[in-house]
Amino acid sequence: MENSSTVIIDFDTFKQVGIVGMPPVDCIGQLNERQITIHDLDAKLVPQSIDGISPYLPKVYCAILRTVVLNAMHLDLDAIYIDVGPGKCDSALHVSTILGELLDIPIFRTRNQDTANYGTPVSTSKLDLASKFLQITEGVKSAAHYETCSSPCAPRAGFWGVPPRDFSVLAPFPNTTHIYGWTRCMENKTPANEALEKQYNPDIPTVFFAQSFCAKTALAKFLAHQHPHALFVDVDFHTGSSARAKIQAFLELSGALQ
């Protein structure tokens, strides 16, 4: 296990690097400058079965971090940057320990406390919701400022939460859905911005999404209770038909799909 604060990093030997969560913009910028390929290990990247990681992580565990370990085991990486600060979670800290034991590459722990606001044009745009999430999650691999993709739309619905492991949960939402929660913090490149994370719009029906076993589930449940027109949904590895049906019914019966 290595730590970026104590080790001199020889970037020139790196061609492929994995990131977990959102390492600081400076760190991403250095990788960008050297044209090092960045893989977002939080996303689904490899076809291997998740069962392959069962010797290393419990089955009842965050699907995102299980995916991280699966990706790390099967990609040919030169190093991993894993954020373990207030912008990620304690579970990532423990996963960094496991990755350090499992892999023969440097694992750099970061603690992202960036405060420079990059803005949230994608979260408030009229793109379909899955495209918004794709743009935002792809955005973690670049330190560049955003080009405006489209003008903001008036919201008919809200999605609060982290990017889901299974994007099919996003299918029932209208294009006029605004994104809130940690995903908005991601786009703004301030993942530890708690005040931004807690924001929601009380005037629109909002789905508070919890990735099962994620620490942010507590905040999702709490805010859903505060919101006057909310649906709390907890989804694990795959989006079940009942979760999808609940969201679809909530949006239709709330008038968000009209």
């Binding site: 609940k246 909530f250 239709e252 019966l253």
Partner: protein
């Protein structure tokens, strides 16, 4: 125009193109091959229709048609799951669908009646309640009670009351519940709720589909 509610244990059909027609019920295991309806809902519905309405939406639309109030809780207890909608001043306030912890409760209640040769219409709601997590796990309480000398009918009634209490809490512990689903015909279940219960019968979801049938007609 035939509407279908394809449940886990029973399927309900209604030909709304025939004036004054009444819905019919057949056991899902006896469903004829090749059947197709105009609009479907229910656990099995997608296979039998080109237009599918999900069960929560059908339930909410059924409530709009059947309940002449603008604030109410409508709870549907089926074979496999329970779901509810809370409407306040005409708008959706809350809804949920429990497919896990509500697992198989309606199915288990029917199974127990047949296995123990009981007749729920002649039984009373009990004082005693079993703490029931779900249909399958709750059966252990029945077996333990019977071993301890409790009459089978009393043990099963306590199990049913436990399920009713679960459903009541799931729906937010309201003062009044409109109830739909096959358990509307079970007096032990209905009388086990600690609140006023208004049974709507087992065709509330079909009534909800009628909303979409009228749209098709226009």
């Amino acid at each position: 125009m035939i509407l279908g509610d394809f449940g886990t244990s029973y399927c309900k059909f209604w030909d709304v193109s025939v004036p004054d027609s009444q819905p019919t019920v057949i056991a899902t295991k006896d469903l004829p091959a090749g059947i197709e309806v105009t609009i479907a809902t229910g656990h099995n519905g997608k296979r039998f229709s080109r237009q599918y309405i999900n069960e929560l939406i059908a339930l909410a639309r059924g409530g709009e048609a059947l309940i002449n109030e603008d604030t109410y809780v409508l709870l549907d207890c089926g074979s496999r799951d329970i779901k509810f909608v809370t409407i306040q001043n005409g708008d959706l306030k809350e809804m949920d669908w429990n497919t896990e912890c509500g697992a198989s409760m309606g199915f288990t209640i029917e199974l127990l009646e047949k296995y123990y040769e009981l007749d729920y219409t002649t039984m009373q709601a009990p004082e005693r309640t079993f703490s029931v997590t779900c249909g399958v796990l709750g059966m252990s309480h029945i077996f333990d009670a019977v071993i301890a000398g409790t009459p089978v009918a009393d043990a099963v009634a306590s199990f049913i009351k436990g399920i009713a209490m679960n459903a009541y809490r799931f729906a937010g512990s309201p003062e009044k519940i409109y109830l739909s689903g096959g358990l509307c015909d079970n007096p032990v279940f209905i009388n086990s709720f600690p609140c006023e219960v208004v049974p709507l019968g087992r065709f509330a979801l079909l009534k909800g589909l009628e909303h979409y049938a009228r749209k098709l007609e226009h």
